[in-house]
Symmetry: C2
Subunit: 356 residues, 2 copies
Amino acid sequence: MSRFSVRRLAAMKPYIPGEQPQDRKYIKLNTNECPYPPSPRVLEVINNNELSSLKLYPDPEAKVLREALAEYYGVKPSQVMVGNGSDEILAFFFMAFCDEEKKVAFPDITYGFYKVFAKLFGVDALQIPLREDFSIDVKDYIGIDRNIVIANPNAPTGLYLPLEDIERILRSNPDHLVLIDEAYIDFGGRSSIELLPKYDNLLICGTFSKSRALAGARLGYSIGTPEAIEDLNKIKFSFNPYNVNRLTLLAGKAAIEDREYFEDCRAKVIATREDTARRLKSLGFELTDSKANFLFARHPKLSGEECYLKLKEGGILVRYFDEPRTRDYVRITMGTPEEMKELMTYNNIDRCIEVQ
Amino acid sequence: MSRFSVRRLAAMKPYIPGEQPQDRKYIKLNTNECPYPPSPRVLEVINNNELSSLKLYPDPEAKVLREALAEYYGVKPSQVMVGNGSDEILAFFFMAFCDEEKKVAFPDITYGFYKVFAKLFGVDALQIPLREDFSIDVKDYIGIDRNIVIANPNAPTGLYLPLEDIERILRSNPDHLVLIDEAYIDFGGRSSIELLPKYDNLLICGTFSKSRALAGARLGYSIGTPEAIEDLNKIKFSFNPYNVNRLTLLAGKAAIEDREYFEDCRAKVIATREDTARRLKSLGFELTDSKANFLFARHPKLSGEECYLKLKEGGILVRYFDEPRTRDYVRITMGTPEEMKELMTYNNIDRCIEVQ
């Protein structure tokens, strides 16, 4: 730390991204990326003409992309904004809607970035414990005097909260925003977007990093009432008006328009998840009922760290979270069927157990 | 505004980017972009293989790009960080180094975003008036109890502050950071980077949007002591670890390595500036001594707004700033020689004056 930094910098606890070791080639099942490349249309739209146009700033309104998103999700363009990944959208949410008075609540086990943002922006964050089985007890969120952030499906558990439960939370907190982070919604849940006409305190965010295979392009979006989106835009235009680059604007539009490719990819990922879950269970693993593109698994005979280390030795990266309630588990991103076969071979998962 | 926004949102005054009207084709001389496309190497490195790899997150450390920047600028990689445009770097500067206690100062006429950030992050900002001729009076910056931000060359005046003056400011403010924003340094000034070994309170930021023709890719950088860079990184990893996308990481490296193309581009822009300045003067325009890729010009016979409107009618976009001290001026980005010829034709600049 330099002697020039502000006092609260010392207290910040930055997010730790999944590792990207360069020492050898790994099968990467640790950051919930898509195992398939982006839509072929993405490759088509990024041509030499567009690369030459990189000399020009992107459209700060992201008009064309927002229109494509609005059409896909059945809302108005004024209900959509886009960001440099959904992490930026989440940061803007904290900046626009949370402060000393407007506090926030989220589950104790969820996407690790929520508490990083709370710390960064000095917002009081109530971390509500999940039940023993990692499910959300909706009663804990009824009429609490705070904004609420819920990842649905949740990470790293993959558990999905039905819309009826989200409605109960929305109804009982009419004066606070409920942000539903739908990073993984395409792998098995119903989007809360359909609730928007009924609840003006609902805000949704999503990402192109998972089901749209564009983690490297950085694209997130938020969908809500025009008023809430206007607030987010005010932050965006006070922070970084050109926050989404030209090529990502193009890639995002191409990806959202190629519905067939998208449906094919997510169907494959879901099939891989169901197949992998079955195989892991037959090896004695216990799994949560994940509706995401990853599985959250533990084995009675070994800790999360042991499993992680042994798989890494075998050339496979998974993620484990060294926290009291999650350290028995590993989170395994769904790769291609070939990659999952590799995971299952004697030298990998099986060996993890046998050497105990 | 929604009823959920934080109180201080109402007081924020977002930055207004240069207009991008879609009603017809304009010659765009309003946002200081480069008139030439990025290096051909940028087009080469963004190939189908890299587009397929968009499914993977970018390197949050931006290691390869930071190494290329470090080599180019003769510093260590630990002295370099990169952002989603230099706007994001500037935002991180305010977040890491400015708060209620650590205030900031900058000229009254400069890049309009500094005061937007001060408002956004609730930082007391002293706007120090430039002299009548828009030059900085260094005496105003001696031993002031604040961080200091100076765009060098300044915008929209293009005036360059010699390094001796920057040294005086650095020496007299040893306990505060002096951020030199070098967005336009490649068009005629000496970079303050050479002062880094002598002053640990110096921080520099720069952009690929101007001299590197990558405004659409969004890439900025900061260079300073390893300690200050570590502070900026702490903010980055608390805000958006994957802040620079994969293709921009590649494009940036290719652009910084193609020194020949870079030298050629900037020489052409400088030649165009000198030529255009001469022509404008012969038409009665008064100009500041711009060392940037734009000219700041006024004509005794017409206001900035009139000049802007008449040029827009003629299909040419320039920018004017409707503030007390600058509203007589227009800021004209240097285009290609052909575009500047268009600007000079009877239907454009000449006509602006004649119809008065």
